[in-house]
C-alpha cells in the first residue's frame, strides 16, 4: 500500500492541527523551563483521557451530520451514579457495567427519538442534557467522595514509560477507544455507512444502507463513550458530583472541529478528536505555566481556534462545491472530487 503524503483538501485540516500542536508545544518549551519533558506530555493525556473518549464517540455522531449535546451531562450523571452505588457497597465492576448500560440505553433512546420521529438532534440532545443533569440531582445534590478500594487502586495505578514518567490506566483505555474507532470507521461496513449518511442521507437510503439502524447505533455509540468517559473521569476525580464538567460538551465539539471533523457531516478522521483535545490541553498547560493569565483565557483561546477551524472547514466546503459544479459542467469527474467521501488513509 502506497502512503499518500501529498497535502490535499482531504488532509489539510488534520495537518494544520498537527502543525499547530507542534508550534504550541514548541512555543511552550521555549518559553517555560520544565515544559519540554515527557511527564508534561503524558499529563496532557492523563488529564484529558475522558475528553478523548467522549470526543471520539461524538465524532461518529457529527460525521453522520448530527450532534450530541448530552455528553457532558451523561459523564456527570455516571460519576454521581457510580459514587452513590459504591457508597452502598456494590462491587466496583458491577457498577462499571451498570454505568455502561445506562450510557447505551440513554444514547439509544435519543437516537430512536431523532430517527423515528424525525426530531432535530440539537433539540433532543439538549433535552437529554437537561434530563441527565436533573436526574443526577434526584440521587444527591452533594459531592460524594469515592473510597472504594478497586477504584482508588485503578486511579493510583501508574504505568511507567520512559524512565520514571508514567501514564494512567485511563490513558490506555482512551487510546484503545481511539484505535478501535479508527478501525471501525475505516475497515467496517458500519463505518462506511456512517460516512455515507453524513455525505447524503437520501443517497444512503437509495443505496440500500440501513440508515435508521445506523443512526440509532451512532447515538448509542456516543452514549456508550460518554458513559465510558464518565467512568474514566470518576477514576480521575474519585468523586461524584452533578456539577462536574459544566459546558464540557462544547469542549468535545471544539475538539472534533479542531481535529478536522466536518460539522456538516460526511468527512473526518477519527484520530482528529484526539489531536483536538491535545491541542486545547496544550493551551491550558501554557496558560497554567504562564501564571499571571487567568483560566478564562483558555476559553477565549480555544474559542478563537474554533473560529479559525470552522472558517477553514467552510472554505474547503465551498471549494468542493465549486469543483463539483465545474466537473458537472465539463461532463467528466473531477480528479479528486469523485471519491471525496472515502475515508482516505491517515
Amino acid at each position: 500500500m502506497k502512503l499518500n503524503l501529498r497535502i490535499n483538501q482531504n488532509n489539510i485540516i488534520i495537518l494544520s492541527t498537527l502543525l499547530l500542536i507542534i508550534l504550541l508545544y514548541g512555543a511552550g518549551s521555549v518559553l517555560y523551563t520544565g515544559f519540554f519533558t515527557w511527564q508534561v506530555f503524558f499529563n496532557l493525556f492523563i488529564d484529558n483521557a475522558y475528553l478523548i473518549i467522549v470526543a471520539t464517540g461524538l465524532a461518529f455522531v457529527i460525521i453522520t451530520g448530527g450532534i450530541d449535546l448530552s455528553v457532558a451531562s451523561v459523564v456527570a450523571f455516571v460519576s454521581v451514579v457510580s459514587a452513590a452505588l459504591l457508597q452502598e457497597g456494590m462491587n466496583a465492576y458491577a457498577v462499571m457495567a451498570i454505568c455502561l448500560l445506562i450510557g447505551i440505553l440513554f444514547g439509544a433512546a435519543q437516537g430512536y427519538l431523532i430517527q423515528r420521529f424525525d426530531l432535530h438532534p440539537w433539540i433532543v440532545t439538549l433535552a437529554g442534557m437537561f434530563l441527565a443533569r436533573g436526574a443526577s440531582y434526584f440521587i444527591t445534590t452533594q459531592s460524594i467522595v469515592i473510597e472504594n478500594a478497586t477504584y482508588t487502586a485503578i486511579s493510583k495505578f501508574k504505568i511507567n514509560l520512559v524512565g520514571s514518567n508514567f501514564i494512567s490506566v485511563s490513558v490506555v483505555i482512551a487510546l484503545a477507544v481511539v484505535a478501535i474507532a479508527i478501525y471501525v470507521a475505516k475497515y467496517t461496513e458500519f463505518g462506511r455507512a456512517v460516512f455515507a449518511i453524513g455525505g447524503s442521507e437520501r443517497s444512503a437510503v437509495l443505496m440500500g444502507l440501513p440508515v435508521p439502524r445506523i443512526t440509532v447505533l451512532v447515538y448509542t455509540i456516543s452514549g456508550f463513550c460518554s458513559a465510558l468517559g464518565g467512568i474514566v473521569f470518576t477514576f480521575y476525580m474519585l468523586s461524584g458530583y452533578n456539577l462536574h464538567l459544566m459546558g464540557m460538551e462544547m469542549d468535545a465539539i471544539a475538539a472534533c472541529v479542531i481535529g478536522g471533523i466536518l460539522l456538516t457531516g460526511g468527512f473526518g478522521y477519527l484520530v482528529g478528536p484526539l489531536l483536538g483535545v491535545i491541542c486545547s490541553g496544550i493551551i491550558q498547560t501554557i496558560v497554567m505555566y504562564q501564571g499571571t493569565l487567568s483560566s478564562w483565557w483558555t476559553k477565549i483561546a480555544v474559542g478563537f481556534l474554533l473560529f479559525l477551524f470552522i472558517l477553514l472547514q467552510r472554505v474547503i466546503v465551498i471549494r468542493r462545491q465549486r469543483r463539483r459544479i465545474i466537473s458537472h459542467a465539463a461532463g467528466k469527474p473531477a480528479p479528486n472530487g469523485g471519491d471525496r467521501r472515502a475515508p482516505a488513509s491517515v
Partner: protein, 336 residues
Amino acid sequence: MSSIRKRAASIMHTKIIWPITALAAILLFNLFFVPGFFNIEIKNGHLFGSLIDILNRAAPIMVIAIGMTLVIAKEGIDISVGSVLAIAGAVAISLLGVVPLWLAIVAALIVGVLCGLWNGLLIAYLGIQPMVGTLILMTVGRGIAQLITEGKVLTTDDKAFGFIGKGFFLGLPFSIFIAAFVFLFVLYLKKRTALGLFLEATGTNKISSEYAGVEPRKIYLFVYIVCGLCAAIAGLLVSSNISSADANNAGLWIELDAILAVVIGGTSMRGGRFFLAGTVIGALFIQSLTTTIYSMGVPPERIMVVKAIVVIVVSLMQSDRFRRVFQQKNKQAVAG
C-alpha cells in the same frame, strides 16, 4: 352541530391555541393545588403575589424569546444569547461607577448589537450553519464576560439602575413594561413595515424572495442583530434585578428556555411564519411552570427534568411523523 364542529376545528388549527391551552392548564393546576397562588396584595402601592412574580421573572425570557422568534423564523438559531446576556450585564455594571447611567446602558446595548453583528456576519455572509456559528460566541462569550468582571461577581448599589429590573411603575414591575415595549415594537415592525413583509418572505422561501428582489442576507444579518440586542436588554434586566453581574451563572441555559418558548408558541424550527404573541405566551408558560414547581416545594434542580420532558413532548407533537404514527393507529382501530 356541524358549524360548531367546523368552528372548533378552525380554532384547533390556529397555532395560538396550543400555548394558551398549556398556560391555562398550568394556571388551572395552580388554582386547585397551590393555595394562595392567585392572591394579589397591595403593599407600599405595589402589587405583590405569585402572578406578578411570574410576570417579573418572565420578562427576560420574553425579551430574548422575541429576538429568538425572528431568528428561528429564518431557519436559524442563536445559542449564544446566554453568553451575550452575561457580557451585557458585565459591561453595564462595570461601567456604572465610571460613566453616567444612560451611557452604561447604551454601552451594554451596543455590545449586544456587536455580538449580533458578529453572529450575523458568520451566518449570513460566510454561510456557516447557525448552530455552529453561534456556538463560537457561546464558548467565548463567558470568557469575555469573565474578562470584563475580572473573574469576580460585580455588584452595584445604584438605585436608578436597580429600578430597571426591580422597580415598580403604576403598581406593576417595570421590567414587564420593557418586555411589552419590545414586543409591541417588533410586532409593529412585522405588521406595519415593509421590513416585516421581507422578514416573513425570506423565512418562507429564501430563493423566491431573492428573485423578488429582497436580499435575504441583509435580512438574516438584521435578525441576528435584533437577537443580540434583545439578549443585551435581557442582560440589563437580569443584572439590575440582582444588582450584580455574574459572568458564570447569569443567563445560564436561558437559550433553552427561549427556544422552548418560541417552539411552544407555534413557530416551527424549520422556519417560515412566526407568531410573536405565541412566543410571549410560551415564555409566560415556562415561567409559570418554573414558579409552580418552586411553590410545590420541589427542589429547584429537578425543574430541569420537567423541562426536558416538556421539550420532548412539544417537539414530538410538532413532528409530522409522530402524528402520522398516531393517525395510522387510530385508523387501524377504526378499521378493526
